[in-house]
């Protein structure tokens, strides 16, 4: 199996300011003696890992966002039906029914992994007992909305059945597994360094380069004024400002160490494949959030070249060392240069890699095919 999977991605962003420096201008870099726009690696990763795609991990079924998982667990335990039945609104199906007290303890423990529990309901301290049922159920909720993927719901359901058998709440370690198995994918990919807690350190399995435009870019200034609607006397503006922006075709590069990713995911091959699919989707479809309200520059990748092999990975940015300077079709020129550079480089250095591509200009390839190639 191939060890390294490399992704070369071309994404065209219209006027935007995706990643700013301390003065608010778009980040830049000099490559081949000319200035390019840059989106830092950390900016890209943040956008990907906080996206809904990562939450659902490439699953075709969307998860749910709720505060109420605790009360559903409680209902499942006290009414003798499975969690899935409760969530689907079905009637009881003949499992063992637990005492309310036992069910509360189990529901609070499991829900507490996903968010902060609301304070426990104590009927003895409640003077107005009319509404005690509603209050009890509400106390089983968590404070904020939490996202539950389908896999997590299945894992919680299995945990609920185990607790029904034992009639007691699970150990902390067991419930923590509900999340760590599923959710540590972003850390498995992008790593973690905590000087204080060495056990939680993990070397990133995915290397992400700073994205740069394939051509020279001059950052433009937008001088703007805002009108004071109620001002009738003064002819001046209510506010004046300058905002900087730029546009361009960006080259993004990622290198995935597939073995390390699987190792970081406790050797779960299936989860590794889902993680790869989710990463590809996020890379192709998720834009950094910077100034999106001002520029609405959400863009999907126009071209993706995926390579897999065991030889030393290399970024293909040298294709753009001399900036693309095309009057007609910057994107087409960028694609041609990328594929040519790959061929020349492989020839010069005697490397061989298998590849697959997605090309929006010709309509060839799809994310699904690319994902299948990556999973290999």
């Amino acid at each position: 199996m191939s060890k390294f999977i490399q992704l070369h991605v071309l994404t065209s962003y219209p006027a935007s300011n995706l990643n700013r420096d301390d003065l608010g201008s778009p980040k830049r870099v000099v490559m081949g003696n000319t200035t390019r726009l840059r989106v830092s690696s950390q900016c890209l990763k943040r956008a990907w890992r906080t996206s809904d795609i990562f939450q659902n991990l490439g699953s075709e079924h969307m998860g749910v966002r709720t505060k109420e998982m605790g009360r559903h667990i409680f209902t499942a335990l006290t009414k003798g039906c499975t969690l899935q039945d409760v969530l689907a609104g079905k009637a009881a199906s003949g499992h063992a029914m637990l005492e309310e007290k036992e069910a509360v303890a189990i529901a609070r423990t499991i829900a507490g992994v996903f968010g902060k529990n609301k304070s426990a309901y104590d009927p003895k301290k409640d003077v107005d007992t009319d509404d005690s049922r509603r209050k009890l159920l509400e106390s089983l909720e968590i404070e904020q909305l939490a996202h539950f993927s389908q896999e997590e719901i299945a894992a919680i359901s299995a945990q609920v059945e185990a607790c029904r058998q034992n009639r007691k709440a699970p150990e902390e370690k067991q419930v923590n597994l509900l999340r760590t198995n599923i959710k540590a994918v972003d850390i498995a990919m992008f790593g973690r360094m905590l000087a204080a807690e060495k056990d939680y350190n993990m070397d990133a399995a995915v290397q992400v380069a700073h994205a740069m435009t394939v051509h020279a870019v001059t950052v433009a200034d937008d001088f703007f004024t805002a009108v004071d609607d109620l001002n009738r006397d003064d002819s001046g503006a209510g506010h004046m400002g300058v905002s900087e922006f730029g546009a361009g075709v960006f080259y993004l590069y990622l290198c995935i160490d597939r073995d390390l990713l699987q190792q970081n995911l406790q050797d779960d091959a299936e989860l590794t494949n889902r993680a790869l699919t989710a990463l590809l989707q996020a890379v192709a479809q998720v834009s950094p959030t910077g100034k999106q309200n001002s520029f609405g520059s959400h863009a999907y990748a126009s071209y993706i070249l995926a390579e897999r092999g065991n030889e030393q990975p290399r970024n293909l940015s040298v294709a753009y060392l001399t900036g693309v300077n095309s009057k007609d079709d910057v994107l087409q020129d960028a694609i041609t240069r990328l594929t040519d550079t790959r061929a020349h480089m492989n020839k010069a250095y005697g490397q061989k890699t298998e590849c697959a591509e997605l090309n929006i200009l010709t309509g060839s390839g799809s994310l699904k095919d690319l994902a299948a190639f990556m999973v290999g």
């Binding site: 870099v29 830092s40 902060k116 923590n176 760590t180 030393q312 970024n315 040298v318």
Partner: protein, 288 residues
């Protein structure tokens, strides 16, 4: 004549961390010893916590680095969102930390080198080196882990293209290595160019930190606080610098100072004489 391993280092961004205290994370202008040995370790599959094997690598190979294109320094403004108060909740992923807590933002300024190109030359200091130069070259061609140029976000943009050959001196080995022309031709060259070379052959009597001596800072190296302490050695060698890039302990990030010989070589002299000329003839030393 001796055997030398040479390879090229190019990426649009590179970063070779030096002493970094607090928010500013500077880069050296040439690859550091710790970066090059780290690259070898990644290629060989030596983990960060294998202190003994890493120390062995450091001890076994001498190093010289040649600058083709010095590049420019980029100062990147970087914000980090550290998780805020999380109460008793355990947060399992970065997404939760970012979205469910009020983050405390930490500012960091990170330096990178842009448009820089270097070649590296390594040689065995003794016959008992853990890997032959050929084995190192093979590891760089099919590395165990991904390689990067100082920071993970700085992937190499050319194969390292390692070569092993017989040469008279490290300078001659570096001069004989042909970097990838299409890239080299596009970048600004430095003339004269710098070579940073391990000065350990000059300091043999003083001894370098040995593997068993970890992690204490050897007194003889630690005392070399400035160039004046090098005394006669500095006079004999011309340009000498002290670089704090000799790892003593990776886990604790302790580094010892390393005496480095700095040579300035004129490109004209270099191309006129070609590879195998006695290197000293074409070398002018830095004024110190």
């Amino acid at each position: 004549m001796a055997q030398y391993l040479t390879f090229q280092l190019y990426g649009p961004l590179q970063a070779y961390g030096t002493v970094a205290v607090g928010a500013i994370r500077p880069t050296a202008t040439m690859p550091t010893r710790s970066a090059v040995i780290g690259l070898l370790a990644a290629a060989l599959g030596i983990r960060r916590d294998e202190e003994a094997r890493l120390a062995e690598l450091h001890k076994a190979y001498g190093m010289a680095v040649r600058e083709h294109s010095p590049g420019k320094v980029l100062l990147d403004y970087h914000t980090i969102q550290a998780p805020g108060t999380r109460g008793k909740r355990q947060l399992f992923c970065r997404r939760d930390e970012l979205l469910l807590t009020e983050p405390n933002t930490i500012l960091s300024r990170r330096e990178y080198l842009m448009d820089a190109l270097f070649t590296v030359c390594l040689w065995q200091r003794s016959d008992s080196a853990p890997h032959t130069l050929q084995q190192l070259a093979q590891a760089l061609k099919t590395p165990h882990w991904t390689l990067w140029l100082g920071r993970k976000s700085c992937p190499p943009a050319l194969p390292l293209a390692p070569q092993v050959g017989e040469h008279a001196t490290p300078q001659a080995a570096l001069a004989a290595y042909l970097v990838y022309e299409p890239v080299s031709a596009t970048l600004r060259h430095s003339d004269p160019y710098r070579i940073h070379m391990d000065a350990d052959e000059l300091l043999e009597s003083d001894g370098l930190p040995d593997a068993e001596g970890l992690p204490d800072l050897p007194a003889d190296l630690g005392d070399l606080d400035d160039l004046a302490d090098l005394g006669d050695l500095a006079d004999a060698a011309g340009g000498m610098e002290m670089h704090r890039d000799m790892p003593l302990h990776h886990g604790r990030r302790q580094f010892a100072k390393r005496p480095v010989r700095v040579l300035l070589v004129s490109r004209v002299a270099d191309s006129a004489h070609h590879a195998e000329m006695p290197a000293d003839a074409e070398v002018s030393y830095v004024d110190k």
